[in-house]
Amino acid sequence: MAEQKHEKYYVPASSPWPIVGAIGLGLIAFGAGHTVIDASKDADGWGINVLLGGIAVILVMLFGWFRDQINESMSGLYSKQLGNSYRQGMAWFIFSEIMFFAAFFGALFYARVIAVEWLGGAGNNAMTNEVLWPGFEAIWPLTETPGGTESGAMGWTGLPLYNTIILIISSFTCHFAHVGLEKGKRKQLTAWLGITIILGCIFLYLQGAEYVHAYEELGLTLDSGIYGNTFYMLTGFHGMHVTLGTIMLIVMFLRVVKGHFTPESHFAFQATSWYWHFVDVVWVCLFIFVYVL
């Protein structure tokens, strides 16, 4: 029985896309580095061209790699075992993303609980406050830094609350679409998937509006101290992930329209759905720790 369950192994044929991807990432790293250096000197350099070239190479790689992948999958080449490998791979990838956000959440907690408190004289740091930063008061949100930069603080009502509701609803609509796919109800799938994409776009639009509000009315910018730093880095990286997730959902939508996926075999859809739930969970943590508390 045990032997029966194991099919003959499937090993994908060699492919040019990985090396194209490596060249793309190399160009992006080299170009991004020089772009940043050029920008810091207000100089027009060639860095940005290399960076854009790298992004173009990566886009070509993504199209080519996924095209091959989808063709191979649609022609029934893949085994169930390979499907499991993909699923596990995606799960571990999401775990690595969680750890990336954990680094920034860690910075936020450290700043709130330790750094700012100590600068304000907590524990045995009275002289730090007295001598180095006289007059500094430990408050959170840190609307006035020890160096004297002032800014407003972002409340949690209004846009952030709407966005929370939107993203939580979108997690449900994404799930309904998934259920539709598994039950073979294509209409339910298309409709709920479309709604999920629209909700994702609304979220991104409102997030942009929130940034405009923060920059123009609150004076809260990326360089206004540790509060602004953690606010923009956390919400910014989250926003990038939502953008990516939305693009993935749109690709899934196009594939659904083309008639891809079956109730049994739909790894790409499942991975996208997992990713979407992941960005949702990250947002809920963000909402609690960055906005509310």
Binding site: A2, P12, A29
Partner: protein, 529 residues
């Protein structure tokens, strides 16, 4: 349930001859080809990083400034560390994982072969960028491989941006490699190969892969914050903005401590394969080895601040990290005990892999003991940032990790190439390495205890003799590694034909296939009883 595999494609994928030409290496999805690429790359990086160490030792041969200016000296210590950690040791282990894990668990290949190729080919680009940054105006990274803020933010040169992005893509490569290993182990084991039957090399890599996926993203976060602090006006590590330079050290070492176990756990697996083979006995305490590895990995997340005892922490935190650190010696002790117990009353023979494994056990333990000394908070105040620390981590990384990689190379070379290596030459390599590595690193303990600070190009005349001895050891160790290169090339080109199982006491699926191992090892899963 089962998907039918097309006949035509099967023929294409499962032929047993390697394709030829340059595209074989560029487009490959074969775990053995990718493993070889990793191993060769890591050896080249070992020589590059090693030659930087030679520059350091040449400058330190005499007190005073002779050869290089201090800023360049700092770049050498920094890039030497980065190259050895990310370019030599980690890719060497990934190469060994690629070669051996599919063979050991009865799989045809890694679970995600194309991603496997991608994760390798990122590395040459990442390290070209890092090395090229040395030639920029203002020089390359010069803040130590730990890139502490504010050295890496306020006081660093322009090349920092390139450093940051090259670390980013190295991290992407490591994470993809680790995902591949972990998925291969979870999903590709042959029927009957239950978790507790897996060879220890597979087990230790399983846990290592978990550590990699958990901490490489944290490193990505750390370099990102350095980038934004330096170029985009954030103040994560700047008190004026409400941040704290100590925060950098917390984030970095939360990555950094698991990272050092990433560089030693696979060694444990290698040594646990070699010692039983040449003692002609089963490994003593297999299950306890597995649990000890898991315990070390778990504890590695709770000890990071022992790198920061002198940085400034509440006493409670210092004590907490001190006790957690000392606790690690318990599972490590279990391992060393088991290796010794395996040899007890075994019928031991001393071929080169065994010699390296034995040297590993003894020298790694010395490194472990000096680690225990460093773990004690009050005395660490004296040892911190001295050559004692340098001696400690080079004992665990050079005579630990690197020696185990050498042992693994000799142990499996017959399986990889189909030829036996030149035993006499290999033994010369071993003895030359063993003697020179101790001449190189042992006196550093004394220099450190006497107060010689690390990362400084000049020193008090009192340390002149000791540094001269150390430098001679360093040059000798560097040259000895060329013997290794010679042995490997000779073995690849020819030599006595290797039988399926060249080592009498060796166990495992890799010794059931011919030498050299066929291009795709197992078409259908072998049976494991």
């Amino acid at each position: 349930m089962s998907t039918v595999v097309g006949e035509v494609d099967q023929h294409d994928d499962h032929h047993h001859h390697a394709p030829s030409g340059i595209t074989r290496w560029l487009f490959t999805t074969n775990h053995k080809d990718i493993g070889s690429l990793y191993l060769w790359f890591s050896f080249i990086m070992f020589l590059v990083g090693g030659s930087m160490a030679m520059v350091i030792r040449a400058e330190l041969f005499q007190p005073g400034l002779q050869l290089v200016d201090p800023h360049f000296f700092n770049q050498m210590t920094t890039v030497h560390g980065l190259i050895m950690v990310f370019g030599a040791v980690m890719p060497a282990f990934t190469g060994l994982a690629n070669w051996m894990i599919p063979m050991m668990i009865g799989a045809p290949d890694m679970a995600l072969p194309r991603m496997n190729n991608w994760s390798f080919w990122i590395l040459p680009f990442a390290f070209s960028i890092l090395l090229a940054s040395l030639f920029m105006e203002g020089g390359g990274p010069a803040f130590g491989w730990t890139f502490y803020a504010p050295l890496s933010t306020t006081y660093s040169s322009d090349s920092t941006a390139l450093f940051v992005f090259s670390v980013h893509i190295m991290g992407i490569s490591s994470i993809m490699g680790a995902i591949n290993v972990i998925v291969t182990i979870m999903n590709m084991r042959a029927p009957g190969m239950s978790y507790m039957k897996m060879p220890l090399f597979v087990w230790t890599w399983f846990i290592t892969a978990f550590l990699l996926i958990a901490v490489m993203p944290v490193l990505a976060g750390a370099v990102t914050m350095v980038l934004t602090d330096k170029y985009f006006g954030t103040s994560f590590f700047d008190a004026a903005g409400g941040g704290d330079p100590v925060l950098f050290q917390h984030i970095f070492w939360f990555f950094g401590h698991p990272e050092v176990y990433i560089m030693i756990l696979p060694s444990f697996g290698i040594v646990s394969a070699i010692i039983p083979a040449f003692s002609r006995k089963k490994l003593f305490g297999y299950a306890s080895m597995v649990y000890a590895t898991a315990a070390i990995a778990g504890l590695s997340f709770l000890v990071w601040a022992h790198h920061m005892f002198t940085t400034g922490m509440p006493v409670f935190a210092e004590l907490f990290f001190m006790y957690c650190t000392m606790l690690i010696s318990v599972p490590t002790g279990v391992k060393v005990f088991n290796w010794v117990a395996t040899m007890w009353r075994g019928s031991i023979s001393f071929e080169t892999p065994m010699l390296f494994a034995l040297a590993f056990v003894i020298l790694f333990t010395i490194g472990g003991f000096s680690g225990l000394m460093l773990a004690i908070t009050p005395v660490d105040f004296q040892y911190h940032d001295t050559y004692f620390v340098v001696a400690h981590f080079h004992y665990v990384l050079v005579s630990g990790a690197i020696f185990s990689i050498m042992a693994a190379a000799y142990y499996w070379l017959p399986k990889w190439t189909g030829h036996m290596y030149d035993e006499k030459l290999a033994k010369t390599h071993f003895w030359a390495s063993l003697i020179s590595v101790n001449v190189l690193f042992f006196p550093m303990h004394f220099a450190g205890l006497a107060g010689m600070p690390r990362r400084i190009p000049d020193y008090s005349i009192a340390f002149a003799d000791i540094n001269q001895i150390v430098s001679i050891g360093g040059f000798a160790f560097g040259l000895s590694q060329l013997i290794f290169l010679w042995v490997v090339i000779k073995c690849v080109k020819g030599g006595e034909k290797a039988p399926t199982k060249p080592w009498e006491g060796a166990e495992g699926l890799e010794w059931t296939v011919p030498s050299p191992a066929p291009y795709h090892t197992f078409d259908t899963p072998p049976e494991v009883k």
